[in-house]
C-alpha cells in the first residue's frame, strides 16, 4: 500500500493570505518529513502561484476565491493552485522570464521561472474569462527519508 493523503484549502484574494497559504501547505507536507530545502523550495513556488492569482486573476475591488488542492502520493507532493478569474491570454508569453503585465507594480516577471526552478514539474492551464490552474509536482529525495 502506498501512502496517500490530500487536503483542500480555500481563501479570498487578499495578499495577507500569501503567507497563510505557505504555512498551511508546509504544515500539511510536513508529514512527509521533507528536508528544510524541499520545504522552502515548495513554499517559494507556491507563493509565486498564489501571488499571481491575487495580483492578476481578479479586479482588486472584487472578492475572488483561490483554491489549493494538495495531494501526497508516497514521496511525491502535487499542489494545484486554482482561481476563477480573468485567465491568461497567452500562457507561453506569461511564462517567459521577465515578462510582466504589471511593471508599474514593480513585478519582476520571474514568477513562473522561479516556480520552474524549485519544483520538478509545472503545468499551467488557463482560459480567458474562466480562470487559471497551476499544477506543480515535487518528489522528495528518497535516499534521505
Amino acid at each position: 500500500m502506498t501512502y496517500h493523503n490530500r487536503m483542500k484549502l480555500e481563501f479570498i484574494n487578499k495578499s495577507e493570505n500569501e503567507s497563510f497559504a505557505r504555512v498551511a501547505v508546509a504544515a500539511f507536507v510536513s508529514q512527509m518529513d521533507p528536508t528544510i530545502e524541499e520545504l522552502i523550495e515548495l513554499k517559494t513556488a507556491l507563493s509565486e502561484a498564489v501571488t499571481n492569482s491575487i495580483i492578476h486573476a481578479y479586479d482588486k475591488s472584487q472578492e475572488g476565491i483561490i483554491e489549493i488542492y494538495c495531494t501526497i502520493k508516497e514521496y511525491t507532493v502535487q499542489v494545484i493552485i486554482e482561481d476563477h478569474g480573468i485567465g491568461i491570454e497567452d500562457i507561453n508569453k506569461a511564462r517567459e522570464p521577465l515578462y510582466t503585465s504589471k511593471p508599474e507594480q514593480e513585478r519582476s516577471g520571474m514568477g513562473f521561472t522561479v516556480m520552474e526552478t524549485f519544483v520538478d514539474e509545472l503545468d499551467v492551464q488557463s482560459l480567458p474569462g474562466e480562470g487559471t490552474k497551476v499544477t506543480m509536482k515535487k518528489t522528495l529525495n528518497r535516499d534521505i527519508h
Binding site: E18, T51, P97, R107, G111, V114
Partner: protein
Amino acid sequence: MRVSFETIDNILIAELDGELDHHTAKEVRDEIDKTIDAFFIKHLIFDFKNVTFMDSSGIGVIIGRYNKIHDMNGKVGVFNCNKYVDKIFAVSDLYSIVDKFHDADEAIKVFNK
C-alpha cells in the same frame, strides 16, 4: 517585515527582517524610498541576514530601488543572502546590475572608492 537602517557617509544599509513577499514588499519599498530621500543617499546595500522567506517579489523591490539609485549615479549591493535568495537572484540575472558582497565592510570599501 521590519526594515532597519544604518547610514555610513552617503551609503544606506537596509537590514531586512522577516518574510519578503508581495504583501510585505510595498511597505519595504516605501520605507526605503523615504529614507533614501531624507538622507541624500547615493549607494544602497541590502542586508538579507534575517530574511526568513523571499519570493520573486524581492527582485521587484531591488530592481525598483536600483532604478532610483542608478538615476543618481549610485550603486546597489546585497550581502548575507541565503542559498534560496541567491538562487532567485541568479536565475533572474539580478547580479548583472547589483553587486554581491560578503559583508557590509566589503561593500562600503568598494562603494566608497
